[in-house]
């Protein structure tokens, strides 16, 4: 046995070390929290620069926000994003419309319908889909979804630019947001109070009636959270979408087989520039992208409220 020597300064030293350690831990927390503020400050600061007086090749904010052309190749170049915003929202919504019902049904299946042995298998499938990096989705989309789309276009008597089209973007995004919505729905469906389910069954509802009418409505809030995250991913997805979008120079695009241009594909195009308007304008698009995501979140929250009461939050 070793006896601990009790120095008079020992307790004080322990306290001082505690204080220092505490300060270091706090600092780490502050650094992590400060990042979001810094992102806004730096990206927005650089983004509004191009509209400021005194900037060489200054852009007009009104034209930027309301125009329907993106022509950096013209002299003077024209940069306007309204049609790009519309394209971004339509493709993301299209993907959500395609993906949302499938995701919710899959989540319901995994939690409530699937035989026990298959449950793990299907959960793993969803997890793997979530883990696949977006560039790999991009390669897959550029190689196979585009082929599918150009065949489909042929059936409707339309032509595409090698399959790069709005429809390809929508299908790609639908696949990419599927695991996001599904995994959040799984969590929320699994956490529905068992008593609600039992009550419904006791009142004479069948199992599937209970699943669809009681469980899904009770899990609504979590499912909508999934939808918000999914839409966020759809808005922010960059590399994969760029491989199949085709970057049209004007718009908006409403024809499914026509090429399109979204906020993120615009940010990734013309990467060779390192200074000047062409470079700085990307930050402006970044600001627009963040605003679009924020506004969509708010809109969905409003929709959720108008749909009805929140049961499990």
């Amino acid at each position: 046995m070793r006896t601990l020597p009790i120095h008079p300064g020992y307790q004080r030293r322990k306290k001082i070390i505690d204080l220092i350690a505490r300060a270091i831990f706090l600092l780490a927390g502050l650094i992590a929290a400060a990042m979001i503020v810094l992102i806004f400050v730096f990206v927005a600061g650089r983004g509004i620069q191009v509209f400021m007086p005194g900037y060489e090749g200054r852009q007009d904010l009104g034209t930027f926000l309301t125009g329907m052309r993106w022509r950096p190749d013209l002299t003077p170049p024209v940069y306007s994003v309204l049609f790009i915003i519309i394209n971004t929202i339509t493709t993301a919504l299209g993907a959500a419309i395609l993906s949302f019902p499938l995701s919710v049904l899959t989540a319901l299946f995994i939690v409530k319908v699937a035989p026990k042995g298959l449950r793990v298998f299907f959960t793993t499938v969803v997890e793997i889909l979530a883990a696949i990096p977006s560039v790999v989705y991009g390669v897959f989309a550029a190689g196979s979804i585009t082929t599918l789309v150009s065949k489909l276009a042929g059936m409707f008597g339309q032509s595409t630019y090698g399959g790069s089209s709005m429809l390809a973007v929508i299908i790609l995004l639908a696949i990419m947001i599927f695991p996001t919505i599904t995994s959040l729905s799984i969590v929320s469906i699994a956490s529905v109070d068992r008593n609600l389910e039992l009550g419904s069954l006791a009142l004479g509802a069948s199992r599937m009636e209970t699943n669809f009418k009681v469980i899904l409505t009770s899990a609504k809030s979590g499912i909508f959270a999934g939808l918000i995250l999914g839409l966020g991913r759809a808005f922010g997805e960059a590399t994969a979408v760029t491989m199949v979008a085709g970057n049209k120079l004007f718009g908006p695009t409403f024809n499914l087989f026509d090429t399109t241009r979204t906020l993120t594909t615009t940010m990734l195009s013309g990467l060779s520039e390192t200074s000047g308007v062409d470079y700085d304008i990307r930050f402006s698009i970044g600001v627009v992208l963040m605003v679009v995501i924020l506004l969509t979140n708010l809109a969905i929250r409003l929709v959720k409220k108008s749909i009805g009461g929140v049961t499990n939050e």
Binding site: R22, I24, A32, V43, A131, I132, V135, F140
Partner: protein, 410 residues
């Protein structure tokens, strides 16, 4: 239950089965596509070779012909030179260009003994000629013309057959050759990815874990803490391309302190660290939550300070969770592309350095896909590598967390 309700029930069941099977089909389609396109390209050579082909002009010390036996295991498509002891094959690359590839060199062939003949400081250096090089031209001593003459693509010969026939019938000695290493490899990106993983973890893990410890163990429950929490939460909703923008402006000035003036692997690592903060913090916190309170109380009641408790009791017990956070972070680093395109650049660098630009594997896919001729074969081959790494990491995480759950339950 009447018939109509039973029918409606069955329809609902079938619908859920169908929608779930779609996800399985999609996953299978992705794997089939990537593997069928990339499997043939993927080889040890592709993993370990440079992307950019290198041009080499060499001269042979002793180019006099000898007599060589055609090895028995040589493929029928290979054309063998009995005088000089090497074999050539005609191949087509992904740009549909015709190539002549060196497939075999005999041990005492003149090709084994070559020196660099191009200009520059390497002139006169010994060069080991390897298989798999693309031959552009042979220089040989022509008997008919009595001087040095070219054979091969830069002479008048278009195929391996014609080339070898030319140097065997007309030549009295081989003087040298001009060749290109095959290129199209991913070694540079592989090394850059490993550097990126190492650097990012070194930066992100300490800060992330410390922040999680603060939030879960030390922070008072007040408004300030919840603001910090929600700020970190918001970070996970920011698209990665916006992180790229932030890297270009804010973190660029940080790397400038180290004297780095371009996009660099360090800048990529800093940007990724910020992306990973919410991931690491959330995972670590979840690990801290499952550490039983009894351990904390026991430690404190034995007279340890908070610091001692954190470092000697809590963190060791949260280790599996921290490991999970690390593995998830690595998988995220491997897959990240948009933020890195901005911060590390898109030019593939065969000799990556921390302070210079380079591409990770994911960005190399982006580069070869957005070039003038998308190279699906190489992109799919890299995708296979990425998929395997990501799958292994994620399945390991699954294994760890199920073991962790069992540990505290019993």
């Amino acid at each position: 239950m009447n018939k109509r309700r039973k029918f409606a029930d069955d329809v609902r069941t079938v619908v859920t089965w169908l929608s779930t099977s779609i996800s399985v089909i999609v996953l299978a389609a992705i794997f089939v596509f990537v593997f069928s396109r990339g499997w043939n390209t993927l080889s040890w050579d592709v993993l370990m070779s440079d992307y950019h082909p290198e041009n080499m002009l060499v001269e042979f010390s002793d180019g006099t012909p000898g007599h060589f036996e055609r090895p028995a295991d040589l493929d029928d498509a290979d054309v063998f030179s009995e005088k000089y002891g090497f074999a050539l094959r005609d191949e087509i690359d992904h740009r549909k260009q015709h190539l002549m590839v060196l497939t075999y060199i005999a041990d005492d062939s003149p090709l084994r003994d070559a020196v660099f003949a191009g200009s520059g400081p390497r002139k006169g250096d010994k060069i080991t000629v390897m298989e798999d090089m693309q031959i552009r031209r042979f220089d040989y001593m022509s008997e008919a013309r009595g001087r040095k003459s070219p054979a091969g693509f830069m002479g008048n010969q278009k195929t391996a057959d014609e080339t070898i026939e030319r140097i065997e019938t007309d030549g009295s000695a081989l003087i040298g050759m001009f060749y290109q290493s095959t290129g199209g490899g991913m070694r540079g990106s592989l090394v850059a990815t490993l550097m990126l993983i190492g650097l990012t973890l070194v930066i992100a893990l300490p800060i992330g874990i410390a922040a999680a410890v603060y939030l879960h163990e030390l922070a008072p429950k007040n408004k300030f803490t919840s603001v910090i929490r929600s700020f970190i939460e918001m970070l996970s909703g920011v698209p990665s391309i916006v992180f790229g923008l932030m890297g270009m402006t804010m973190l660029f000035s940080v790397t400038a302190l180290f004297g780095i003036t371009t996009q660099s692997i360090l800048l990529g690592a800093l940007t990724l660290s910020v992306i990973l903060f919410p991931v690491i913090i959330r995972q670590t916190e979840e690990a801290l939550i499952v550490v039983p309170d009894g351990l904390r109380m026991a430690s404190l009641s034995l007279g340890s300070s908070h610091t001692q408790m954190i470092f000697k009791v809590i963190l060791p017990n949260a280790l599996p969770g921290i490991l999970t956070a690390t593995l998830l972070s690595i998988s995220r680093i491997i897959g990240e592309s948009a933020a890195l395109i901005y911060t590390m650049g898109v030019a593939i660098n065969d000799h990556p350095e921390i302070g210079r630009s380079g591409t990770s594997l994911a960005v190399q896919i982006w580069t070869v896909m957005t070039g003038e001729q998308p190279n699906f074969e190489l992109a799919s081959a890299i995708s296979i590598v990425i998929l395997i790494m990501v799958l292994v990491l994620n399945l390991t995480v699954k294994g760890i967390s199920s073991r962790l759950n069992r540990k505290w339950r019993t």
